[in-house]
Symmetry: D2
Subunit: 347 residues, 4 copies
Amino acid sequence: MTVSLEVVSVEPAQDQLRYTFGGGGGEPLVRVRPGTVVELATEDCFGGRVRSAADLPSQVCEFPYLNPVTGPIHVEGAEPGDTLAVHLVDIAPARDWAVSATFPHFGALTATHNTAMLHDPLEEVVWVYEVDRERGTCLFRPRRGGPEVELPLDPMHGTIGVAPAAGEVFASITPGAHGGNMDTPEMRAGTTAYFNVNVPGGLLAIGDGHCRQGEGEVCGTAVEAAMRTVVVVDLIKGGGPAAPLAWPRIESDDFLMSTGSTRPLEDAYRVSQHDLVTWAAELTGWDTLDAYQLVSQAGLAPAGNVVDTNYTMVAKLAKKHLGSAAVVADGMHDRLRETAAAYLAQR
Amino acid sequence: MTVSLEVVSVEPAQDQLRYTFGGGGGEPLVRVRPGTVVELATEDCFGGRVRSAADLPSQVCEFPYLNPVTGPIHVEGAEPGDTLAVHLVDIAPARDWAVSATFPHFGALTATHNTAMLHDPLEEVVWVYEVDRERGTCLFRPRRGGPEVELPLDPMHGTIGVAPAAGEVFASITPGAHGGNMDTPEMRAGTTAYFNVNVPGGLLAIGDGHCRQGEGEVCGTAVEAAMRTVVVVDLIKGGGPAAPLAWPRIESDDFLMSTGSTRPLEDAYRVSQHDLVTWAAELTGWDTLDAYQLVSQAGLAPAGNVVDTNYTMVAKLAKKHLGSAAVVADGMHDRLRETAAAYLAQR
Amino acid sequence: MTVSLEVVSVEPAQDQLRYTFGGGGGEPLVRVRPGTVVELATEDCFGGRVRSAADLPSQVCEFPYLNPVTGPIHVEGAEPGDTLAVHLVDIAPARDWAVSATFPHFGALTATHNTAMLHDPLEEVVWVYEVDRERGTCLFRPRRGGPEVELPLDPMHGTIGVAPAAGEVFASITPGAHGGNMDTPEMRAGTTAYFNVNVPGGLLAIGDGHCRQGEGEVCGTAVEAAMRTVVVVDLIKGGGPAAPLAWPRIESDDFLMSTGSTRPLEDAYRVSQHDLVTWAAELTGWDTLDAYQLVSQAGLAPAGNVVDTNYTMVAKLAKKHLGSAAVVADGMHDRLRETAAAYLAQR
Amino acid sequence: MTVSLEVVSVEPAQDQLRYTFGGGGGEPLVRVRPGTVVELATEDCFGGRVRSAADLPSQVCEFPYLNPVTGPIHVEGAEPGDTLAVHLVDIAPARDWAVSATFPHFGALTATHNTAMLHDPLEEVVWVYEVDRERGTCLFRPRRGGPEVELPLDPMHGTIGVAPAAGEVFASITPGAHGGNMDTPEMRAGTTAYFNVNVPGGLLAIGDGHCRQGEGEVCGTAVEAAMRTVVVVDLIKGGGPAAPLAWPRIESDDFLMSTGSTRPLEDAYRVSQHDLVTWAAELTGWDTLDAYQLVSQAGLAPAGNVVDTNYTMVAKLAKKHLGSAAVVADGMHDRLRETAAAYLAQR
């Protein structure tokens, strides 16, 4: 069988990188039709400037030029109230190294600008990881002795989202109803993310690749890496999983996932669980309290990030519990899976 | 090989059930030597009074006689600053049914006495689950139509802990540094829980068995069941994993887990992650910032409960990442595993 | 003595009202030189569309066209890192009525989009206040019986701020480091507000007049009114009270005030208190811990709002406690007081 | 007119001081009849052990022997569901000095055991205040130079409460529904505090006198002093202001005040505002939403403490706004005021 795929490649120049969702005034980086496979290059959260233990982020990076994203991608025909479906086909580290760092006043176990305290900042330290793409590992080397640890690669994007509603423009480090810097390890290849379209074209942007990340991203940074990433972008007209979608959702082969990004963390939990309860009720026809009950017994609740300007919680429900009711948007995820398979077979 | 096991059985009468950690004035339910296998019966969180959809908890239960625990178990020789190790050998539902319910002003997606609002309470609804111990399932029946769901049994105890420090006495529904109502599904058979000893004998108590529970226990109750539970109780003199242990820790064959129970939820996250970072540094000899880094990339952070008087987060690290350094208290968990195996072989 | 005052009047047309801080692409509403007196008209938070008990906000208002602001006012010579000083000369209700309302999913004692719950919204109710400018009162009429209450007018602006940093654009309902919808009753005539300049011209905007407001604005809306407001806008080059100013500050004849707008509320408290401690140390030459001590014993901490997208706390310190050290920016507040007096004498 | 007053004096010996609300097993310190004037001595929060800048609390104090309270006072006839009314007649510093201090891992602008971080503790510093009872001042001397500040005395008790419900026992540093360590400057002479009776006799205890305190008590300690305090203790049978009273309330000549003590701080705000709304509705006959509206426009919301194991917010409403409806428990406050006046006239 020959499948005709529309494939577009985008590799932004340094000065084309974006640092916000929304805004920017001008042209999208690229315009694509729904169903297009987009190959894109993303820079790491430090803009590639942290390359050795001597490159302290606070010295080599320049605020607000942090966490660049590649985009925006204008999806033809996307109108407010539609849903953008973004299937992550492949996320591959672009280099044989990656970095992580503590950053002054950033992280969950340190005073920050919001959790303001009188402490001096924690020491700023950089860790350089060796990335072995063949073996699928990245190597943690403690800076001050003790055992090294070879960790499996589990590449993902910390930042993915669309232009916000109501003319707002958010720094790329902010997660919210538009997606953005949710920093959840669930955003890995094989999943489909759903975003509400707030402006014509949706204006998708992606960045902040991680070779892997713990839940919560406690020190504030993951194993940060430039990525070669492939996505399929599709469109659900007139609604989609819900109409309109209040918060980003993620679907994998096995799980339905809702996200909530706000503060305090219990409110992020509430948002994500509320959305999952509503979603399960929609799919199954259960009464809301019945869905509340089922999610209470079968739902998972991993932290996404507890370090960014908003915190992110993920609510997960295994699709097997919903049986044949677990079909979202007429099987969008499965169709995108097929597109992805066709692309990978041809690549 | 013949292993000589000391086995004690306790089945409290109705009027011997306890509703607090600490207090009570009098005698422990039982005194055991370190290393003893304790077989115990626990009642469900409703005191067994909710048996059908017509038994609304607010009508059939009487505050504060909720969430009874079995205990306290006095461990001979346990002194403040020691660590109690409690290995969960087996947790078996005692009946062929279990219940769950919404409860007025309780749960994460409802106004509560602390998150005070002007809404009327959500409707109080009871769900009765059929428990099939042979097949290892419990059956969710929606009250108002839609598909039924057969969920796998994954029995655990919501409530397990010791007498608090400083003469405090906490209701059994409160989790904290003494353990208590942490409501984490990680507290299943095969794990070892560690608690700091605050008073002579430690005064362990256990209750609130769940056939299974979602992370966060979002509606406020799990699949609540009376249990037949077997634990091995042991003692680490003069400290243990840390000396003294600030917060309960859990060890399974594969994971080290720290807990934090406080509010807001980000503080529970901070406590649990801080403890895990410290623990990993102790075991490996890493500098604290190196341990912070490794946990940031490899740690997991599931919610325990987001409904009780304190919220609970769990921080998890796979032992494989620490290699040979992942040995806690000279291998206490493995030794208790062996005791458990010997008991189960003889039972 | 004749004082030469530059006075500018701005009354935006309906289609000139703005709904964001930052953004908008185009021209400022007006450009003024530092020291200019600006007379401006502001519409109420409902855009003047709620005029009777029958005008339910959710029906007559159209999201996102809520909380309009008048501006932006470009201040000549203002560069990033400078400080804008805005003295509130007069705030006068423009009509003989004002309104307040509950609004679905908005307020502190109701489920919201962020504190997501399964409750139906509280009932949407509108209260119309009679405003008697002569007597200085507004009349509360309970909708369902019981005593009426004549409350003193204490006019203020809920929303005042500048364009955010880093290209961000925030809805006018959001408070933050740029000011915005702080909703603190301290923002009354006679005070001087300080904002960090983030973009050339600063781009000041003002709206959301309140005839009066309780601390926290618990139901989500105040006694909302269109206003005739007079401000003096001035500029502190190269820094000001601190350089740059991290969060908005307010100065009255008697108090120094710091603000913090974030979530959870304790972080808003931390931000505001941290800023006040730092400010007091700067003015007096005290060590930071000495300033921490003095603020601990003499500081006030009223809530601003506990309902908006960020919560606002205010930290207040009586200037008398600092004696002669309580002089900010070489006496900017006193000078603006004089300009205001001169203006009022001439009006 | 001769008024017959029952006056009891209690001055506990060092070993009679208590460190919990509830518990203790034995006899109350004293039993009094409703209406009795109680003269009592309280020690400061450090047990009087911090007397100079060299006396670091972490060295001279011994956990958990912090924050001693005087009591419990058993009020004859008090039964669960009744309300205890405690009128503060006089609070006088017992010595001519008082102290304050930073304390490791305690305070709002520092990492704590709950807001766990990797920072080293802030420096531990003691400030000794000269107390001039004649002039009504306490003198702040910065430790490292800069201006001294003479602050007015405004004596209050940080800790006042009763035995908790349900057999719980809380450390005296914990505020909650039982009162306890609310640390609000509103608890000054001239006010009447109301507490729900949870156990026979109520078991009132008082301590933690402050010469004065800022709102929030940001560094964690106030101007701590031993006190000579006089209270009138009275009883409202079968209910009182509400039946039963969910959270402590305070009444002054001018204000009705509700308290909420929990975390996060917005929940403390919610609790206190919810209680004030309910209270105002009860007194006036307003519908709840009408009371919500009035409190929104006329309520005050100062922080109590943002440093203890629970945070405290106070919700205040001027009695003048309620007119003749502002009569609590048949005028209990006014009657206690008269008793106090009679006592003071005779003393």
